[in-house]
């Protein structure tokens, strides 16, 4: 399979192998009516294996970037304009995340009062992403490639 250059859009590289499909799921389906090249489990000197995704004519917002960094810590995003890389982003996860993730505790107040922005204290231990809700204090652990 050949991955073509794109003129305008985004290239997501260094995605943990097999996690690309979760990255794609971050975008609303109606935005994905465009050319998408997705290569999975390809050789990578730094990761062993990795996924790469190129999507034409698409932008990415900061909340989605943060979710990408949670799903795949080494991901890089290149913004392509007129066939050239106009910006390269290596998204990181701040120690406290506001309004991006939902709390998995069904009894958390943020589930009943949706106008409240969720707030989590986060950390990473080996391959686990740990987040603690700052409202209900419940702690959740997820593996690479999952958000809940």
């Amino acid at each position: 399979m050949r991955i073509e250059r794109i003129k305008n859009g985004i290239v997501m590289d260094h995605i943990n192998a097999g996690v690309g499909i979760e990255i794609l799921n971050l975008f609303p389906k109606e935005l994905l009516h465009t050319r998408i090249d997705y290569a999975a489990f390809i050789d990578s000197p730094s990761l062993g294996e990795k996924d790469i995704i190129k999507i034409e004519n698409l932008n990415v917002d900061p909340a989605t970037l943060m979710k990408m960094a949670i799903l795949s810590p080494k991901i890089t995003i290149s913004i392509i304009r007129d066939g050239k890389v106009s910006k390269k982003i290596r998204p990181t996860v701040p120690p406290v995340i506001e309004g991006v993730l939902t709390c998995d505790n069904p009894k958390c107040v943020t589930r009943q009062e949706p106008y409240l922005a969720t707030k989590f204290k986060v950390s990473r231990e080996e391959n686990r992403f740990i987040r603690q809700c700052l409202y209900c204090e419940h702690i959740f652990q997820t593996k690479i490639g999952t958000l809940s």
Binding site: N105, K107, C108, V109, T110, R111, Q112, E113, Y115, L116, Q132, C133, L134, Y135, C136, E137, H138, I139
Partner: protein, 310 residues
């Protein structure tokens, strides 16, 4: 100098209080008891709103009695059906509105984190009277005051907790404070009702000395200075069958107390079911009704302090 630092402050979590502030509230509760009728001036002209989205007669009455005892007035609701929630009002709107009527708000709400959320929208101090299975700081402060009144200290005490450690919010809050004062703790709970991971993580972070057991061996009580017993709450279970299976896992009676120290203090946040036999009530060890009195006195201290009147 702590005096005045409580003025206008929300009381959401005992974790927000320093050890010094906790001891200040204990001293304030004592001081108010020594004021006699002058205590009636502490909240004169002030109004407490008790907003209880879920029923809790005891906690609500304790808050209301506390406010009356320091000369204030009370308004509020005691179930969601009689509030605007039944008309679809958000928590934020209820709080924004009521904080225009009341100088201070005591609230109980079934959702965890609700008191913290409410504090973001309130113009008056919020006192958390229980947010789901999460926190119950005024119960804890009353329990701390009880330990000082009955044992004279916290440091070096050995304390046991018995019953539902998973949903028992009073236990979560109390254990986390006792850990800060060097109290050694033992938890006895049926399988599946152990302390939640976030409480265990917090105790470990504080380097607390604690152990957990699923069986209550009679000899397990022998070194304890205080045993804190809790009801296995029916409303926390998903099925009647599961509740019936677990509710009688542990019962404290005179016979089992023969294995304990003579001055073992037995506490319970009340209401109780069968987990403490009524034959214990006449023993000096039974501290649970005195505990209710000390809880009321502590709430007087908290309200007066947050109103900036002491």
């Amino acid at each position: 100098m702590i005096m005045g630092s409580f003025t206008g402050r929300h009381i959401i979590d005992t974790a927000d209080l320093s050890n010094e502030e906790i001891l200040y509230l204990v001293d304030t509760a004592n001081a108010i008891q020594n004021m006699g009728e002058k205590a009636l001036d502490l909240a004169r002209g002030k109004t407490l709103a008790t907003l209880f989205w879920e029923p809790s007669t005891r906690t609500r009455l304790s808050f209301e009695a506390a406010m009356f005892n320091i000369g204030g007035q009370v308004l509020g609701f005691s179930e969601a059906q009689s509030s605007s929630v039944s008309k679809g009002e958000t928590l934020a709107d209820t709080i924004k509105t009521v904080s225009q009527y009341a100088d201070i708000i005591a609230m109980r709400h079934p959702m965890e984190g609700s008191a913290l959320a409410a504090s973001h929208f309130s113009d008056s101090p919020i006192i958390n009277g229980g947010d789901g299975a999460h926190l119950h700081p005024t119960q804890t402060m009353g329990d701390i005051y009880t330990l000082f009144k009955e044992k004279g200290r916290l440091e070096g005490l050995k304390v046991g907790f018995l019953g539902d450690m998973l949903f028992g919010r009073t236990i979560h809050t109390l254990a986390r404070v006792l850990a800060r004062f060097g109290v050694e703790m033992t938890f006895f709970s049926p399988e599946g009702l152990n302390i939640p991971s976030y409480v265990r993580a917090d105790l470990e972070e504080k380097n607390a000395t604690f152990s957990e057991f699923t069986d209550l061996e009679p000899t397990a009580l022998k070194d304890l200075d205080m045993l804190y017993v809790t009801r296995i709450q029916k409303e926390r279970f998903f099925s009647e069958e599961e509740y019936l299976r677990k509710k009688n896992s542990y019962v404290i009676n005179r016979k089992i107390l023969e294995n304990a120290k003579n001055d073992l203090l037995v506490l319970h946040p009340l209401p109780r079911n069968e987990e403490i036999s009524t034959d214990v009530d006449a023993l000096p060890n039974a501290g649970y009704f005195r505990q209710a009195k000390y809880g009321l006195q502590m709430r007087m201290a908290i309200i007066a302090s947050c109103l900036g009147r002491i």
